[in-house]
C-alpha cells in the first residue's frame, strides 16, 4: 500500500507493469533503438491530414497496442492518464476520445511519461483503480510549428538545440502485472535557475532532474550504484553533462550507469539531431521499448527513470521569462535484488 517515504518520495507495494507499447516515426525507426519499438510508421503523417491528427492517431495506436499486449480491453481500464505537448493537450483528448475510458489529461511537458506513470501507479496501489493506463506522445512537426518555426523555414539550429521525437509510449499498470514492479515514485518540485535560452532546454531542465534525484537518494538512502540504469528523459548532451556536474556538487557521483533517453534514441553522429532527442515521446518511447524490454528479459534489474519537462510557453518566452522545469522519478525493479 502506498506510503510516504521521507519528504518527497512515495513507496508502493505491489504495483507492476502489465503491458506496454511504443510507436515511433521514421527518423526514430532509423535510430539505434529501432529493434525495440512495436511499430515504426514510415509515414510521418500517420495517414492523417494534419500533424495534430497524426499525433492523436499515434496515441490511439500506442494505447491499442499496449492493451493488446496486456491482454486487456478498454472496459477493464479504470482510468487513463495522458498528456502531450500540444495546446490544451489535443493530442491526447482527440486520440483517446473513442476508448470510452475515464480520462485525466496531463500537462507536464516532456515529464509527462513519469508523471502519468506515477499517477497510474498510485491509483492502482491505493485501490482507486484496478488497472490504469499511462501514456504520452510528441510529434516533431506538430511541436515545431507550435513552439519554434514552420518546417520549411530556413533557420539554423544551434548545437545545443534538440530534436523533438515523433513517438509515444503507453504502459498498462495493475496489481497483477507480471512485468517490472513500480517500487517508488518521487514527484519533483519546480526548479528554475534562470536559463532563458529556448534553444538550450537541456540546461533549463538539468536543475530539476538534479533536485529530484537528490531528493530520492535522501529519502530512500539509496546510492547511484544500487541501480543498473539511471536515465533522464531528454536532457540531451549538454543537459546530461550539467546534471553530472550539479550532482557532483551535491557529493553524489553518477557513474557509467547514467544516461539520457535523448542520447539513446538517435545516432547523433549520423542523424543531425544536434544535442539529442526531446519531447514527451522521447522518454515515453525509450521506456516502452529499450528499458522495459531489457527489464523483462532480465538484462536490467533496477532502473531509475526520470522524465524532465520544461514548463514554458511560447508566450512566456516572448515575454522574456526564464524557463521553469520539473522532473518526476519512477523506480522500476524487476524484483531480482
Amino acid at each position: 500500500m502506498a506510503q510516504r517515504i521521507g519528504r518527497y518520495t512515495i513507496g508502493l507495494g505491489n504495483t507492476a507493469v502489465k503491458g506496454y507499447a511504443s510507436v515511433v516515426g521514421k527518423k526514430e525507426g532509423e535510430g539505434p533503438l529501432a529493434a525495440g519499438f512495436d511499430y515504426i510508421s514510415e509515414d510521418t503523417a500517420f495517414g492523417e491530414k494534419t500533424w495534430e491528427k497524426a499525433e492523436s492517431r499515434l496515441q490511439k495506436d500506442v494505447l491499442s497496442r499496449a492493451l493488446n499486449k496486456a491482454g486487456a480491453t478498454p472496459d477493464s481500464i479504470d482510468i487513463i492518464f495522458s498528456g502531450d505537448l500540444l495546446n490544451q493537450c489535443i493530442g491526447s483528448s482527440y486520440g483517446l476520445r473513442e476508448f470510452n475510458i475515464p480520462f485525466i489529461g496531463l500537462y507536464g511537458a516532456c515529464s509527462t511519461m513519469a508523471e502519468a506513470l506515477t499517477l497510474s501507479a498510485v491509483f492502482v496501489d491505493t485501490g482507486c483503480a484496478g488497472m490504469a493506463a499511462a501514456l504520452t506522445s510528441s510529434h516533431f512537426c506538430a511541436a515545431e510549428r507550435q513552439f519554434r518555426f514552420p518546417l520549411e523555414y530556413g533557420g539554423q539550429r544551434p548545437p545545443s538545440a534538440q530534436w523533438t521525437v515523433t513517438g509515444g509510449g503507453a504502459v498498462i499498470v495493475s496489481r497483477d502485472g507480471t512485468g517490472p514492479l513500480i517500487k517508488e515514485v518521487t514527484i519533483g518540485r519546480i526548479a528554475d535557475l534562470g536559463v532563458k535560452d529556448i534553444n538550450n532546454m537541456g540546461a533549463a531542465m538539468a536543475p530539476a532532474a538534479a533536485e529530484t534525484l537528490k531528493d530520492y537518494f535522501a529519502d530512500t538512502g539509496r546510492k547511484p550504484d544500487d541501480f543498473d540504469l539511471i536515465t533522464t528523459g531528454d536532457l540531451g548532451s549538454d543537459g546530461s553533462e550539467l546534471l553530472r556536474e550539479l550532482m557532483e556538487r551535491e557529493n553524489i557521483k553518477l557513474g557509467t550507469n547514467y544516461t539520457d533517453c535523448g542520447l539513446m534514441i538517435y545516432d547523433r553522429e549520423k542523424q543531425d539531431v544536434h544535442a539529442g532527442g526531446s519531447g514527451c515521446g522521447c522518454s515515453g518511447s525509450v521506456l516502452c521499448s529499450f528499458i522495459l524490454n531489457n527489464m523483462c528479459q532480465g538484462k536490467l534489474g533496477e532502473v531509475l527513470f526520470l522524465s524532465t519537462g520544461a514548463l514554458m510557453s511560447p508566450m512566456s518566452v516572448q515575454q522574456g521569462e526564464s524557463i521553469p522545469s520539473v522532473a518526476h522519478l519512477v523506480h522500476l525493479s524487476s524484483g531480482r535484488k
Binding site: E152, Y153, G154, A191, G194, V195, A203, D238, E250, A275
Partner: protein, 147 residues
C-alpha cells in the same frame, strides 16, 4: 540547490557547445555572395533586354523572390539554409522564405486566418520597421526642406 542562478549561468556557458562560427561565416559568405552574384547577372540580363535601371532592379527582386519562394515550396530552401544560415536569410530570398514557410505550414488552419494571416509572422515586422523608418526619414527630409 547549492548553485546560484549566476553560478549556474556560468556553468551552462562553459558546458554548451559553441556554434562553429568560422565555418558558418564561410558558408554564409559563399552562399550569400552567390545569391547576390545571381542577382547581378539577372539585373544585367534584364538591362540587356531593354529594361530601365529601375525596372531591371525591380525585376531582379521579383525573380529572386520567386526563386526563394519556389525553392521553399519544393522543400529545398531549408536544406540549403541549414548550412548557409545568414547566407540565405539576409538576401531577399530569406524574406520570400519567411513568407512562404508559415503560409505552407498553416494551410491546415484555412486560407484566411491560417495561410494569409500567418504569412506575415516574420515578414510583417520587417515591413513595419522598414516602412515606418522610411516615413520617419521622409518627415525629417520634408521638415528640413521647409527652411
Amino acid at each position: 540547490m547549492a548553485v546560484t542562478n549566476m553560478g549556474y549561468g556560468n556553468m551552462v556557458k562553459r558546458k554548451s557547445k559553441k556554434s562553429p562560427l568560422l565555418k558558418n561565416m564561410l558558408w554564409a559568405f559563399c552562399v550569400g555572395g552567390a545569391i547576390c552574384t545571381v542577382g547581378q547577372a539577372l539585373a544585367d540580363l534584364f538591362k540587356q533586354y531593354g529594361l530601365s535601371l529601375l525596372d531591371a532592379s525591380s525585376a531582379t527582386s521579383i525573380t529572386l523572390i520567386f526563386l526563394g519562394a519556389f525553392l521553399t515550396g519544393v522543400n529545398i530552401f531549408d536544406k540549403i539554409a541549414k548550412h548557409a544560415g545568414a547566407g540565405t536569410l539576409v538576401p531577399i530570398t530569406g524574406f520570400a522564405n519567411s513568407i512562404v514557410a508559415p503560409a505552407l505550414e498553416f494551410k491546415s488552419e484555412g486560407f484566411v486566418l491560417g495561410m494569409s494571416a500567418k504569412m506575415f509572422t516574420i515578414a510583417g515586422p520587417v515591413l513595419v520597421f522598414g516602412i515606418a523608418s522610411s516615413v520617419v526619414y521622409g518627415l525629417i527630409l520634408w521638415i528640413f526642406r521647409l527652411f
